[in-house]
């Protein structure tokens, strides 16, 4: 075959693949919105579920969906970014860093249901936190830790070494160099990792059912059980309680994830603009 012919085929195939990906995305969003938007009104957003969710709204689940990932992010971000800083700036590349990196990689591969079981045994039972936002948040934090560590590490590494040299040559200490030059440069990458993690924890069900429970009450403290929208959707659909409300929940879930991503990217670009 002539190279030119191959070139054309490859181009068409790549285009088709890209098109298919976008089509699937559009189809999912369209399908969920079409089935869900019908039940969504202010009442649905702001009232509590009645009859296990057959009627009524999803207000407590919205609260749960905001609080639980928030707890996870607040715990996992400093821990993960700290680990990444330690691995890149304070250790020399060697056997230990490779072992730690391999460990985090393995952690990323563990199925979420196993995390759920671990969280249940450690936080819910052994530490006595019960089914609670705290247990669920901690479990989610461990789940998203590998993502945060890896993305933070990569973006810290991508900050040019010459910036560090300049900072040191201007009398900067190591910590000053990290906080004033390295972290600002790495921030877009770190934020991307955090956004990915928010998405992951907002959509998580298996480990959350095990650790945060599925209470339909509005939580008032970190030790209260709470139900996220993903869990609510799962239970409504799985138990055949109400498909309409399940789709309504799913639609709001998708809208919230889109909102989170947009706001995060907007913040990131605003920050980047300062730098260019």
């Amino acid at each position: 075959m002539k190279p030119k012919f191959i070139e054309q085929i490859v181009k068409k195939m790549l285009l088709a693949g890209t098109g298919l990906t976008i089509l699937i995305l559009i189809f999912i969003i369209f399908y969920v919105l079409k089935n869900g938007l019908a039940v969504i009104d202010l009442e649905f957003l702001l009232s509590s579920p009645k009859e296990l969710g057959r009627t009524g709204g999803i207000f407590p689940c919205i609260i749960g969906t905001i609080i639980l990932p928030l707890v996870a992010i607040v715990i996992a971000t400093p821990l993960g970014v700290g680990t990444a800083i330690y691995l890149t700036e304070y250790t020399r590349e060697g056997r230990w860093t490779r072992i730690i990196r391999f460990g985090t990689e393995c952690l990323a591969g563990v199925p979420s249901i196993i995390f759920g079981l671990f969280g249940f045994v450690l936080f819910v039972v052994y530490l006595g936190f019960g089914w609670s936002i705290l247990s669920g948040g901690l479990t989610l934090a461990f789940m998203i830790l590998p993502t945060i560590i890896r993305t933070a590490e990569e973006s810290i590494k991508s900050v040019p070494f010459s910036y560090r040299e300049v900072s040191f040559s201007l009398g900067g200490t190591k910590w000053q160099t990290i906080t004033k030059v390295v972290l600002p440069g790495a921030l877009p990458g770190i934020v991307t990792g955090v956004i990915l993690s928010i998405g992951k924890s907002v959509g998580e069900t298996a480990s959350v059912i095990f650790t945060a429970g599925s209470s339909l009450l509005i939580p008032t403290s970190l030790f209260d059980s709470s139900r996220t929208m993903a869990v609510h959707f799962y239970l409504l659909a799985r138990e055949g309680i109400s498909m309409e409300n399940a789709y309504g929940t799913a639609a709001i879930l998708i809208i919230i994830i889109l909102l989170i991503n947009s706001v995060a990217y907007w913040l990131m670009h605003r920050f980047m603009a300062k730098f260019l």
Binding site: R92, P160, S162, Y163, R164, E165, V166, S167, F168, S169, L170, G171, G172, T173, Q176, K180, V181, P184, G185, K274, F275, L276
Partner: protein, 251 residues
């Protein structure tokens, strides 16, 4: 004039490879001391010894003594930020930090805890003037430093170093990427600066060394072949290798 920097029996190794061999050198205050020599002679490495920037590289080992004003800078208790403020450095490629022109110049002083806006402003102005950049940027101090031209960026880097109020300035081929006009501006700045600072200049450009220097050292393959006053080096070099190099008959 007294000696600002004294280097005694200096050897430097990259792992087991000896990069600089038994260097002995005295550098006087308030002059431009140039280091010339072909690529790979250890010029840059030598420069980075004087502000201990080689310490960032884990496999570098150093023997011998380096004195700044009779103080051995390789003694244990020397605080590196203190040393690097006294011995400022300008790199071969200009590296503006992401941020505005003002922020770049104020970076060093801010690290030392200078927060007063008026103090910082006057220091930034003074530094930019000394680096011959003030007239070009005075109305856009809040513009990104990355938008400056190459020559302006390099003068920004010089101003940033001056803002540390150092005593010694190390320049590592500061004109290697610049056009003749930018180069002339930097040389003009250097000429003014030597009144207040000791300047050590690494350059690949023998003519530049002849133009600006008071004293010149010739490095070759990690050895200091000879050093002396610029006229002596260019008219009656003691070593044949020096003569070959400066007359372009090398290799």
């Amino acid at each position: 004039m007294e000696d600002k920097i004294v280097v005694k029996n200096l050897n430097l190794f990259f792992d087991k490879l000896c990069v600089l061999k038994s260097i002995n050198l005295n550098i006087k205050a308030n002059q431009i001391f140039s280091i010339i020599g072909p690529a790979g002679s250890g010029k840059t490495t030598f420069l980075r010894i004087l502000n201990r920037l080689n310490d960032l590289i884990p496999y570098v080992r150093l023997e011998g003594e380096v004195y700044l004003d009779d103080k051995n800078i390789y003694k244990e208790d020397i605080p590196l930020p203190w040393l690097r403020r006294k011995v400022g450095m300008v790199f071969a490629l200009p590296v503006p930090l992401p941020g505005t022109i003002f922020e770049n110049i104020a970076y060093g002083p801010k690290l030392q805890g200078m927060t007063s806006k008026t103090k910082l402003s006057s220091l930034v102005e003074k530094s930019l003037k000394s680096a011959f950049l003030w007239d070009e940027v005075r109305y856009k101090l809040d513009a990104s430093a990355l938008r400056l031209s190459g020559g302006q960026q390099q003068r920004l880097c010089i101003a940033r170093t001056l803002a540390l109020e150092p005593e010694v300035i190390l320049l590592d081929e500061p004109c290697s990427g610049l056009d003749p006009i930018s180069t002339a501006k930097i040389e003009e700045a250097l000429h003014e600066l030597k009144k207040n600072y000791t300047i050590i200049l690494v350059t690949n450009n023998t003519k530049q060394a002849a133009r600006v220097s008071d004293n010149i050292a010739f490095f070759l393959m990690g050895e200091l072949v000879e050093y002396g006053h610029v006229e002596q080096i260019f008219t009656v070099p003691r070593d044949k290798r020096t003569q070959d190099y400066i007359s372009g008959r090398f290799g």
